[in-house]
């Protein structure tokens, strides 16, 4: 068999839950951000979850259990896919307001992984802005959620952390090793560190 010219990365999993103290009725958007050498071959690149509310069972957790399933092919590990999450929910006046942005790289070790992403929102530039944005329900937002997946230009923003989202990934790769890229042996399942900020 001829040597492969691409490698495949299959990611499945789910956006399990979020913890946003003080907020309720949140929904979550996700999208994958990847480099120029990556092409999604199957699955959804982006999606939006249902609105979920807190329950008395677990008063701090908002469970989405929103599945993600996507396969990429690539020729270059540069630009490894990241999942970008943004969580929205209604504010006091019922406006849809962003409650957090966050991103994490898809794990590159095959196996099951769980990632807890710390979420953050951009801050208003002044108190007055904060007040008016609170009134109008037009909080500061990122022009493009993908900025949280890039490093460029982040220095001009100020953000406030706000909650966590837990995502689980099941990662498979094909031909990665054949093409000369070594990844360590699969990590065992277990609690993973925070990602984000």
């Amino acid at each position: 068999m001829a040597a492969p010219s691409v490698f495949l990365l299959a990611v499945s999993g789910e956006i399990e839950s979020g913890e946003f103290p003080g907020f309720d009725d949140l929904y979550c958007k996700f999208s994958f951000v990847y480099g120029q050498d990556w092409v999604p071959t199957a699955g959804l690149e982006e999606g939006i979850s249902q609105i979920t509310s807190k329950s008395s069972v677990s008063p701090t957790t908002l469970v989405w259990n929103f599945p993600i399933d996507i396969t990429f092919k690539s020729t270059n590990p540069f630009g490894w896919p990241q999942i970008v999450l943004s969580v929205y929910g209604p504010d006091f006046f019922g406006h849809d307001v962003v409650r957090g942005y966050g991103a994490v790289h898809v794990p590159f070790v095959p196996g099951r992984h769980k990632r807890t992403i710390a979420m953050f929102v951009p801050e208003s530039t002044s108190r007055l802005q904060q007040l008016t944005s609170w009134f109008t329900g037009r909080r500061p937002e990122f022009t493009d959620p993908r900025v949280v997946a890039q490093g460029e230009g982040r220095e001009v923003t100020r953000v406030r952390s706000q909650g966590f989202v837990t995502v689980s990934f099941n990662v498979m790769t094909k031909d990665l090793h054949k093409l000369g890229y070594d990844v360590p042996a699969a990590e065992g399942p277990g609690p993973q560190g925070f990602h984000g900020f």
């Binding site: 690149e45 020729t75 270059n76 951009p122 008016t132 037009r138 937002e141 900025v147 001009v156």
Partner: protein, 1404 residues
């Protein structure tokens, strides 16, 4: 053997210096050779000493001879003795320099060869003569001389009888001597070097080196320090701060990080210390030390077998002379030259080498030689004499003729005459003929004095130390004190590696014979290349006081020197310490005397020898712990430079010092691997042999030699040498004076640069990363090199390559390496094929370059982010806006007038093909040309051919519908429909009727971004245009037969193109929507169609509703979903403008913005070079071509039109296309929205410079809507209509101060500024209006017709009238050249908010 024992010693028996090692002779061949040469020189010198016997008082003469002939030669220590005798006051000097030859060690070995020992008395005499306190130095000298001769004779004898017992290493030198070539080469060396002049002899020691203390800097200050800084300090005493010079070599690790191969270890064995002089030496000790030293030298001489060597040399020289004289080599100049040289050599050697047997023959030969020499001399002198005599005679003649005295004889006997005249000139004397008897006598006398008589026994001295030391009790008090003092003293040695103390020996007491035994071996595990190894010798007295006696540098061992095989070497040291003692000890640096009367003083300095060895350790498995050569890349050059500099130091230009030269092979030795060391060392020896020793100090010679010897520069063995040569020949700087950043970068590089450049994949990735236009959006760079088709680089198609996956090939297609490379190649090549003439080609290529550079700037600028780039934040609502919002809430609802609502903007990130649609809403059109009655021959004149008068004054009356059958049939004037095409998609509306149709239809066209890239910058660069074509649908009755008309309808539909509107996609993208009425571009001649004219529209200038002659279409175009337009770049660019001007402009701009937020005032724009330029620079009056003016002499209006046409023909490239929405770039005069206002015949005409069209002041469809900014060639201002006059002045002043615009009459400019501000109506020239091109939209339909009037009249009229005359007066001089200006503008919803103005073209 009998011991030489000084009779005057106070009874102490002393030992000789130790005999540390007998393995000396078996040590490296090199050192032996070098010593051999040393000794050879010494012997040669001695030969001269004995030679100078002709003088009755031989000593001064002899010394002179030494100085003259061989001063550069290193003398053996025997010559020190001569020195003592000759120059007693320098004795102290020399004694401190006295070096003990290490040949003592060969004592035992050599002694086996001695067969004829001298008697005890002879030996005693021999060794003590020198030290006896003899008042007359002459006497001492002669006695000493005898001693010397004795010694030599002894040696000669020894050589004679034991010739075949020479050791192996001797044989080599024997061969050297016998081999003529080598021999001569050696003498050449001698001849090459310069000899110091006689006068400088007291500066040089016997070894030819400048006499100097080992360390000329005293440890303690010798003068009191100067404390007062303020008081006048002599300039030479002032301290000057110098920066610390950091040792560049300190970081020379020979082990790179990461590949530490193990430890490298140096073993330093410090066996002991012997003082050859110590302050505590008693006089007896001094004498004993001297004796021991002499004996040492004797042994060394004997071992070197110098006598034999010199004898052989003499023979060789003689035979050479014989050969060259007899062998008919007279004609050969080389031989001629060499004869005197040989003779010279012979003279050097001759006196010394008389054998016992050949004593007489020797003397005879010498006499003969001397005679020959004298004869030669005589002949030479005779020649000189003759010429002088000739001169003299001439002079004499003239004298004689003057004085008219008696004639001159030609013979020689005229001495008396000379005296008679008392001439100033003395008659030359004929040279004396040499007397053979005299010579013989001299020779014999000399032989007698300095040679062993034939038959006399050869004396062999031997020194033993067997005497017993007098017990302390029996000693005088002073001696007891001395001994006690010695007991108190102890010494230790510090070991310094690279100037850092690494260890020290234990402190050991100094024994009574002034030896200290340490016997310690230090193992240094090193990671730095050894730059220096130093021993510091300390002496402690009593408990506390420790003094540094001396520092001794140890040579870094060759890589071949391993522990176990390394010999102990004795390194001499001396100290300038000055010690005075109050007991028997003589002290150091203090003069003392052996004489009773205190004369003949001598001063000795503390000196001694350290016996030590340095070697590379051997590891457990027998592996030497030597750093490999390959890792010394950084270390080598500096090391070798240091070493060679050392060589240079040792050889003060004129000195052949073989010992010093040996440093080079040693250096080279550790450059190479241990197994290669010898090899390279030999090469270096060869280098010395071939270019001479002085050549070594001359890098150019060395380089030449390297070139001649064809050293392989690639041979790693030679690397160091080649590098050295390169460094030294290319420049003097040995030490790089640069600081290298990221010096480890190379190690960390992913691949080498060559490989990186060779790899297509890497190149592709890099180009993409650099955002090169062709590759910016290249997706999926193939993983394998082979998958990147060569064709990508060479040809556009890659499908033909079988290796390439077709799918990937599709990706590749857009990325055209070929284009890229071609572009790179052609950047400087001007291709004139595509252009009409060369000039245009040049301009085009220049423009291309400009674009590239500008785009690059913007690419960089794009990576600067502002908060607004990343975060959407609502503006703070001001109260006014809030109020307006409230007011709007109260507004009555108008359901019949729907409004377009703001849509949510969509970022381009997740879009793909088909997601984006272009919505084109065709609303209505005005003034569509109507079909002409077929019979009508009336041709509507084209608009450009119409005159102002025609336009503004009377116009042909409206056409009445022609009354003909055709007209009756058609009923309708025109049935227009609109077809929109965009990116190969075509949509059309339904057909409407009449010249002012109303469609109100929405067409949907899919949009596809290039390369499927929907990123902002990709969308910005879309060059597609939306074509909106207006057609007339014509129904032709196709029924041929009238009879059929009743039964069926058979018509043919034709579409007649009437005109079109083009709108670039980028405009839509940036403006988010296009909403307005656009003029349809209709060909000037449209066969079969004519314009319907509104009745009553021509009412002269006053007409408010003056319809222009064009056709118009109202459109609304937008993109669904709404895309976020790319931000324009807010980069500050380079500028050549004055800072003051820019500041004023900025301030002015800010003021304008604060007063009229909806307007934008521009003061600066970016020019072709991507530089910020003050806007008025773009406007300059130019004279139009004279032909145009001459064409219609009396009709200014026609001329104006011609000029406008002329200007319109000037080609330009819309920046919106070329710079694809990057920015407002004023590189060309741009497009359909640029207008110029001129005053013609007391009414205003608005010109479109790109088309040459003009509009009347009251033209209803004139695109003029709002005026934001007026720019003349002198001023920007103009625009802030409400701005008080005074506020403009700062800008005007700034303009003035910079001298950007120089107008002779300053008033004019000032007035123009006023005009621009307040008097548009009276402005004669140069007013650019930033205009909105489209009509007022549906929001305020009633306003558009009034706009022009409003703008121009409402605000300006009154003031204009008031100031008119004044200004006219001021500006009369400038009125002749109205200027066309292009106004670039941005569309934005209802209100234009971005205005830029530009260009300048002359008009009339």
């Amino acid at each position: 053997m009998s011991a030489a024992r000084p009779s005057d010693a106070p009874g102490t028996v002393r030992d000789l210096p130790p005999v540390p090692s007998t393995s000396r002779t078996s040590s490296a061949e090199l050192s032996v050779r070098q010593r051999m040469r040393e000794k050879l020189k010494a012997a040669r010198t001695k030969a001269e000493i004995t030679l100078s016997q002709e003088e009755p008082s031989p000593h001064p003469r002899r010394l002179k001879g030494i100085r003259e002939r061989k001063p550069g030669v290193r003398l053996d220590k025997t010559s020190d003795n001569d020195k003592f005798r000759e120059v007693p006051e320098s004795e102290s000097h020399l004694s401190s320099k006295v070096k003990f030859r290490d040949s003592v060690k060969k004592l035992k070995q050599k002694s086996t060869f001695q067969n004829d020992f001298p008697s005890e008395e002879e030996a005693y005499n021999f060794f003590t003569f020198n030290f006896d306190a003899i008042p007359e130095k002459m006497k001492a000298g002669s006695r000493k001389k005898n001693g010397l001769n004795e010694e030599e004779e002894v040696e000669e004898e020894c050589v004679e009888s034991h010739e075949d017992e020479q050791e192996d290493e001797m044989d080599e030198d024997m061969r050297l001597v016998k081999d003529d070539d080598l021999f001569i080469r050696e003498t050449d060396e001698d001849l090459v070097v310069m000899r110091p002049v006689d006068c400088g002899k007291e500066w040089f020691g016997d070894d030819g080196k400048i006499l100097a203390l080992p360390n000329p800097i005293k440890q303690s200050s010798t003068r009191p320090p100067i404390f007062s800084l303020e008081e006048g300090i002599a300039p030479e005493l002032e301290t000057v701060y110098r920066k610390t010079i950091k040792m560049t070599s300190t970081n020379q690790y020979f082990v790179g990080p990461g590949d530490f191969q193990g430890l490298f270890q140096l073993d330093i064995d410090i066996s002991g210390l012997i003082f050859t002089h110590h302050p505590c030496f008693s006089r007896e000790h001094v004498l004993a030390a001297k004796l021991a030293q002499l004996y040492d030298q004797y042994l060394a001489r004997k071992q070197k077998n110098l006598t034999k060597l010199l004898t052989d040399k003499l023979h060789a020289l003689r035979s050479a002379v014989q050969y060259s004289t007899e062998g008919g080599g007279d004609g050969v100049p080389v031989a001629q030259q060499s004869i005197p040289e040989y003779k010279m050599e012979i003279r050097e050697d001759v006196d010394q080498k008389s054998d016992k047997k050949a004593y007489e023959a020797e003397i005879q030969a010498e006499i003969k030689e001397l005679l020959e020499e004298c004869m030669e001399e005589y002949e030479k002198k005779m020649e000189e004499y003759k010429t002088e005599l000739q001169d003299w005679k001439l002079w004499k003649k003239t004298q004689k003729s003057k004085k008219k005295k008696k004639k001159k004889d030609t013979h020689v006997d005229e001495e008396s005459e000379d005296y008679d005249f008392g001439e100033e000139r003395i008659k030359p004397l004929p040279p004396k003929m040499a007397n053979s008897l005299e010579i013989e006598q001299q020779v014999r006398q000399k032989a007698d004095s300095c040679r062993r008589k034939p038959g006399e026994p050869i004396l062999v001295p031997e020194l033993t130390l067997l005497g017993s030391v007098t017990p302390t009790e029996q000693c005088p008090r002073a001696e007891v004190l001395r001994r006690e003092d010695v007991k108190k003293r102890s010494a230790f040695i510090k070991v310094l590696f690279n100037s850092k103390e690494v260890s020290r020996t234990v402190t050991r007491p100094i024994s009574s014979d002034f030896r200290v035994h340490f016997g310690q071996i230090f193992n240094l595990q090193i990671i730095n290349w050894p730059e220096s190894l130093k021993l510091q010798i300390y002496e402690t007295t009593g408990i506390s006081s420790t003094t540094l006696l001396a520092e001794v540098f140890l040579p870094v061992p060759e890589t071949a020197v391993l522990t176990g095989s390394a010999p102990l070497e004795e390194i001499e040291f001396s100290s300038d310490q000055r010690v005075m003692l109050d007991h028997e000890g003589v002290g150091s640096g203090v003069s003392f005397s052996f004489e009773a009367d205190g004369s003949n003083k001598m001063t000795l300095m503390t000196s001694g020898k350290v016996s030590s060895s340095v070697s590379w350790a051997v590891g457990e498995k027998g592996i030497p712990l030597i750093p490999p050569v390959s890792q010394q890349n950084t270390g080598i050059p500096s090391t070798i430079v240091i070493q060679l500099a050392f060589v240079q130091d040792l050889m003060p230009k004129d000195k052949v010092d073989v010992a010093a030269l040996s440093a080079v092979p040693v250096t080279a030795g550790y450059l190479a691997d241990s197994n290669q060391a010898q090899d390279l060392a030999l090469k270096n020896v060869d280098a010395i042999a071939s270019i001479g020793t002085s050549g070594l100090t001359d890098m150019k010679k060395l380089a030449e030699w390297a070139a001649e010897a064809k050293l392989d520069p690639n041979d790693p063995n030679n690397a160091a040498l080649m590098q050295l040569i390169m460094i030294t020949t290319s420049g003097e700087a040995h030490v790089p004076d640069f600081f290298r950043l990221e010096q480890l970068q190379q190690e960390f590089n992913f691949v080498s640069d060559e490989e990186f450049n060779r790899s297509k994949r890497f190149r592709l990735l890099r180009l993409r990363n650099e955002e090169v236009a062709e590759f910016r959006n290249y997706k999926q760079v193939p993983l394998h090199e082979r998958e990147i088709s060569e064709k990508i680089f060479q040809a556009s198609g890659c499908l033909s390559s079988p290796l390439v996956d077709p799918i990937q090939c599709l990706h590749m297609l857009p990325a055209v390496f070929q284009d890229y490379e071609k572009r790179l190649q052609e950047r400087d090549v001007i291709d004139s094929k595509n252009y009409l003439d060369e000039h245009r080609a040049v301009v085009a290529s220049y423009l291309q370059k400009v674009r590239e550079s500008v785009i690059n700037r913007f690419l960089i600028a794009k990576h600067h982010f502002l908060l607004s780039d990343l975060v959407n934040e609502e503006e703070i609502l001001s109260l006014g806006i809030l109020g307006l919002g409230l007011f709007k809430l109260a507004e009555p609802k108008r359901p019949l007038r729907p409004r377009r609502k703001e849509r949510k903007k969509v970022t381009a990130q997740n879009l793909s093909d088909g997601d984006i649609k272009l919505l084109v809403n065709i609303i209505r059109a005005y003034d569509i040309p109507v079909r002409k009655p077929v019979t009508s021959k009336l041709q509507q004149p084209s608009k450009s051919s119409r005159s102002f008068n025609e336009m503004f004054a009377a116009s042909p009356s409206a056409q009445s519908p022609p009354n003909n059958p055709d007209w009756a049939f058609n009923q309708v004037l025109v049935r227009p429909f609109v077809e929109v095409s965009f990116q190969r998609t075509v949509c059309r509306t339904t057909t409407a009727e009449g010249p002012s149709p109303c469609w109100n239809e929405e067409l949907e066209l899919p949009f596809r971004a290039p390369n499927g890239d929907y990123s902002t910058h990709s969308l910005q660069s879309v060059k597609d245009e939306v074509f909106i074509n207006v057609f007339d649908e014509v129904l032709h009755d196709a029924v041929e037969d009238d009879h059929e008309r009743g039964s069926g309808i058979h018509t043919r539909i034709e579409r007649h193109w009437l005109g079109c509107v083009k709108i670039p996609f980028t405009t839509i993208y940036f403006q988010a929507r296009i909403d307005g009425t656009f003029k349809i571009h209709i060909p000037p001649v449209l066969l079969g169609y004519s314009k319907e004219k509104n009745v009553g529209m021509e009412r002269g200038y006053d007409s408010v509703r003056n319809l222009s002659e064009g056709s118009y279409i109202t459109l609304f175009i937008t993109i669904e979903p709404q895309l976020i337009p790319g931000e324009s770049v807010r980069e500050k660019f380079d500028t050549q403008e004055d800072e003051k001007l820019l500041q004023a402009a900025e301030k002015y701009e800010a003021e304008c913005t604060s007063k009229f937020p909806s307007r934008q005032c521009l003061t600066t724009v970016i020019d072709l070079d991507g530089k910020t330029v003050f806007i008025t620079r773009y406007i300059k009056p130019l004279n139009p071509p004279q032909e145009l003016l001459d064409a219609v002499p009396n009709r200014s209006q026609t001329a104006a039109e011609l000029v406008a046409r002329y200007v319109a023909l000037i080609p330009f490239l819309p920046d919106s296309v070329s710079f694809a929405g990057i920015c407002d770039l004023w590189s060309t005069s741009d497009g359909p929205t640029a207008y110029v206002l001129t005053l013609e015949q007391r009414q205003y005409v608005i010109w479109n410079p790109s088309t040459g069209c003009f509009y009347g002041q009251y033209d209803t469809f004139c695109p003029l809507q709002n005026v934001y900014c007026l720019i003349s060639c002198d001023n920007v201002s103009g625009f802030p209509i409400h701005m008080p006059y005074s506020e403009v002045t700062p800008l005007i002043e700034a303009v003035h101060s910079t001298g950007v615009h120089t107008i002779d009459v300053s008033n004019v400019e000032f007035a123009l500024a006023v005009l621009a501000t307040k008097m548009v109506a009276k402005l004669y020239r140069n007013i650019q209006l930033c205009l909105h091109p489209n009509f007022p939209n549906t929001k305020n339909p009633e306003s558009y017709s009034l706009t022009m009037t409003t703008v121009l009249n409402k605000y300006y009229s009154k003031e204009c009238i008031q100031l008119g005359k004044q200004v006219e007066q001021a500006t009369t001089g400038c009125l002749q050249c109205p200027v066309l200006a292009h106004v670039v503008k941005h569309l934005d919803r209802d209100e234009p908010d971005t205005i830029t103005a530009g260009l300048k073209e002359p008009k009339m």
